[in-house]
Symmetry: C2
Subunit: 582 residues, 2 copies
């Protein structure tokens, strides 16, 4: 098809939109791909919609290739199924809730585990029907607290969500693997630079899960990779290699000291280097952070978290570690109610005396000696030995992860980077099939509870991610697989012959099945070239001054390379490029 | 592609669903095309989604053919634009409203005039950009009071809505005509039997509008056609041919009579035939129905509606006639407050005496004489002449339309039928461009207010309509253009050679680009044939007993015809059918 810019619904903007901070957002708006309709809610204009549909198609093809079957569920959903799994409440204010005219509670689907589970229960009853994988490419809704960066984190967005149903754990592992492979194929076709990280599964429930993160400075997710690249994990999912337990025999006894006004690790280290006969660093101290934790349906429990004093507690890691329990820092009221807890001087004993739970970083193992609070103002204990002088109630992954930390699998040290979540695959197990009692008749005549996987790809987000990773200072640059057009033909010569030549070229390309954007506007070549760079079609053909001499110009938007091609060979040259043979 | 029924997510049902009343609903559920998720909210299973997408594509191609440009707007919308046009309120409880986490009012878009208008205002500023037509194929939401018949009238549904923007009324008329033609092309391709009727435009505002109604006994819209078929209109839009005014000179004087207990037309006619020296029918009486009407922002006004006594007031026609005003029947309180209104004996004078407005049917013209109420209990006036004894404040189209009424354009008499609204085209004019002040710079340097058209097609509804019009007692029957598959190949022979032959045939068809549904299940031929009839793929190929003798069976689902074809010629025969050459 030929799309003429003279009548295309497209207005490029010279200036960045005021509310845009990240390059993809600026460029997608400036190039007329999307427009904001409400906070976190965007309209797709002709070029944007073409890219969105192209991304959808890549995803669809790869899902079909693993035998997943496409269906389409509604976005407007009844409350009951989400009530049954607890997610009506768990989603908190991220869920768009509404009532219909009869007062029935409804919601806009943020993800569809419940409905797919009910659907399979309704249709299938025998082991012979399994396994089955269903998917949809559908509009989803989440009332994000901070929608940002245009379509990168919207409140209405397009997602591919699929759900596998298997008879056995091995079957689930196979379905999971098939999705993992399909996602890798998708990202490869889209040209997205990504990393697969071990992830925690958040509100989704379930056990094994991995995230596909697009590597990007504007990402909101921090992940770490081992120096040889073989290990990668979401920071929340990093497992600290535990320290080696040591024999406590022969270690010096713990001694309490008056340390004066030393409520911080820095002041404590200063005191120790003055008062003790050794060099002390923050890593020799044990910092005890007090929080309270509440498991669903239970009371708050005061919890001390002991970490080496050179590290902070990373609250996101802490939250992930205790989920689905909630966690909060201890407030003034809590300290007032528990005089055993002396701020700035808290030790393991104080936590226990206050009836609390005491959890430690995995580095705090039996035989390690620490300088820590003595539970009296101005006092600390030196050489308090784990496993001898105190026994933690368990370990917790709450300490911050830092560049240079050892990778859990021994593949070197960790380096952190930023990423954008573009896919998430979960081995959910039986959380949802238990909630809805989804059994089929097994081969032996007994009921089998199905096991389930859930797999998502942010389709509209991928459009922004590709823009983010591929753009340059002049504008967008689309990989051929998702470009809104194959070729952008620019008339940059008012001569009648050149105009007719451009027209003929465009028609020949069209006849050959090439999607052509034809800049037939009465604008200056400069304006047209700038727009071509901004719009980012991979191949730009300029019918310009050289036409009189029998040549046209073929520009590669990605490499920036320019070729002079004889007019008679232009169609073949462009076709070769459009077919990826360039 | 080959879709194998052994692994297809499909379960056909023997029994009709309990909540289904119309054939399309029963069959689409029984054949596993759709499933109910909530009242008026449906999931599309694999076969249903294929038909839906096929209908979408036909609509898309025809919209593209008239130069309309596809975009995609959100479904979740801010309140403000709908507030600006009054539709936030006008839509009443048909609008799904919700609040986001910050308490901002939002809605689920029922139709998108406001957003498209704002979009064009934002992008375009010069007459050079016009005209432009934009469209989307998108999920819409209306909280129907009575969702019914599955996807025929859902609360979440897929619609194609387009919007034209023109500089002049002539331009709008041209855009409107282009849509009208495109809609006719779409219906022809889909094989839908339809009629185009003059319509009132309801809450949409604007002047000229027509509806595309699919002819169907299960339709909710009543329309009338003239006996020669050249006139058709929604009942609400029928214009009554006015009576011929006559000279009032020489007509008998009006005389009031004691008519006794005659509060109904029937009792009045009985009295008249006994008391007067002529034959009287209900058509000689003037029935005065009392209502109150409230224009937006004004007070209720008592209104008498005078219609020939052989006709009822059709409340839907009355509502359409007074829109956007509201109308209600007069209540006991109103009668109590207005003693001039004597129930059962109301005449034109009484309405005026009560300070009301008096409107009449267009048949009540100057010189017509009526028997009507004398505004006293037990009294009526005979020979009350319009234009002499009373002067109405105007006419109103509120009387029922009946089979046999004259067509307004003189093309015979009217016959009524039922239809399903599948398309609606509006010449909106400047209602929305006025609301948002959408001007562009005209050729003469002065601002030009744009004029607008709005055009909708119920895409998901069309799936039900096609099922409704095309089915037979055995199941669905799809036109090739939208069939979920081109060919349904059934193995009805357990012989290894036959199975291998079917497999080879299926692969050859697939290689030729035919979409094949392959019934490779281990079920009996009877079960498979029943399912094939239920599913409704246009061509069914049976590899059965004849295979040993070198033949297969090719069945036409539409005509029911069966052909024996030599195995070697099977692929060509099926290809010819799939290409519509059969």
């Amino acid at each position: 098809m030929i799309t003429r810019m003279s009548s295309l619904f497209l207005r490029t903007l010279r200036d960045d939109p005021a509310d845009a901070e990240v390059p993809s957002h600026k460029l997608l708006v400036r190039a007329g791909y999307v427009r904001r309709a409400a906070p976190g809610v965007y309209s797709w204009l002709p070029l944007g919609l073409r890219v969105l549909r192209a991304v959808e198609n890549v995803v669809r093809e790869e899902m079909n290739a693993i035998g997943a079957q496409e269906i389409l569920l509604p976005a407007l959903l009844p409350r009951e199924p989400y009530e049954a799994t607890g997610r009506w409440t768990e989603y908190g204010s991220a869920l768009f809730r509404l009532q219909d005219r009869k007062g029935a509670d409804m919601l806009l689907g943020p993800t569809h585990e419940e409905l797919f589970t009910q659907l399979v229960k309704g249709e299938y009853s025998s082991y012979k029907d399994l396994p089955v994988t269903l998917y949809q490419i559908q509009t989803k809704y989440r009332d994000e607290e901070r929608p940002r960066a245009g379509i990168l984190r919207g409140r209405e967005f397009v997602m591919k969500d699929s759900y596998s149903f298997d008879l056995t754990d091995e079957g689930l592992a196979k379905s999971y693997r098939a999705h993992r492979d399909a996602y890798q194929a998708i990202m490869a076709r889209l040209g997205v630079e990504y990393v697969i990280v071990a992830a925690t599964s958040g509100a989704m429930g379930g056990s094994a899960s991995e995230e596909f993160l697009a590597i990007s400075e504007v990402g909101e997710d921090t992940f770490v990779r081992s120096s040889d690249g073989s290990y990668a994990a979401n920071v929340e999912a990093v497992v600290t290699p535990p320290g080696q337990p040591r024999d406590t025999d022969g270690l010096p006894a713990a001694i309490a000291y008056d340390t004066g006004e030393t409520p911080t690790i820095a002041t404590l280290v200063d005191w120790a280097n003055g008062a003790l006969d050794r060099t002390v660093t923050a890593a020799d101290t044990l910092k005890n952070v007090l929080v309270k934790i509440r498991r669903p349906g239970e009371d708050w429990v005061i919890t001390g978290i002991g970490v080496p004093g050179d590290r902070e507690v990373d609250f996101k890691r802490l939250e992930a570690a205790v989920e689905p329990a909630e966690v909060e820092l201890l407030g003034d009221d809590d300290f007032a109610a528990n005089p055993a807890l002396v701020r700035g001087y808290i030790g393991p004993a104080g936590v226990k005396a206050a009836g609390g739970t005491y959890l430690v970083d995995p580095r705090v193992v039996t035989g390690t000696a620490w300088i820590t609070g003595a539970d009296e103002a101005g006092k600390h204990v030196v050489d308090l030995v784990a496993g001898r002088d105190f026994t933690p109630d368990g370990t917790i992954e709450a300490a911050e992860v830092r560049d240079g930390d050892l990778a859990p699998d021994g593949t070197g040290t960790l380096v952190s980077a930023k990423g954008i979540e573009i896919g998430h695959i979960f081995q959910l197990g039986r959380k949802y099939t238990d909630a809805f009692e989804v059994d089929v008749l097994g081969e032996n005549g007994k009921p089998v509870r199905l096991t389930m996987g859930s797999y998502g790809i942010g389709v509209s987000r991928l459009v922004a991610v590709i823009a983010e990773q591929m753009h340059d200072e002049k504008g967008l640059r689309w990989p051929r697989e998702v470009a809104p057009f194959d070729v952008h033909v620019v008339i940059a010569n008012k001569d009648e012959g050149a105009v007719a030549g451009a027209q003929a070229l465009v028609e020949q390309l069209d006849a050959a099945g090439v999607e052509v954007l034809f800049d037939d506007r009465k604008a200056s070549p400069g304006v047209k070239f700038k727009d071509a760079e901004l719009l980012g079609v991979p191949t730009v053909v300029v019918v310009g001054r050289g036409f009189a001499d029998g040549t046209i110009e073929v520009r590669d938007r990605l490499s920036g390379a320019t070729d002079e091609v004889a007019v008679g060979e232009a169609v073949d040259a462009v076709l070769a490029l459009a077919r990826g043979e360039g």
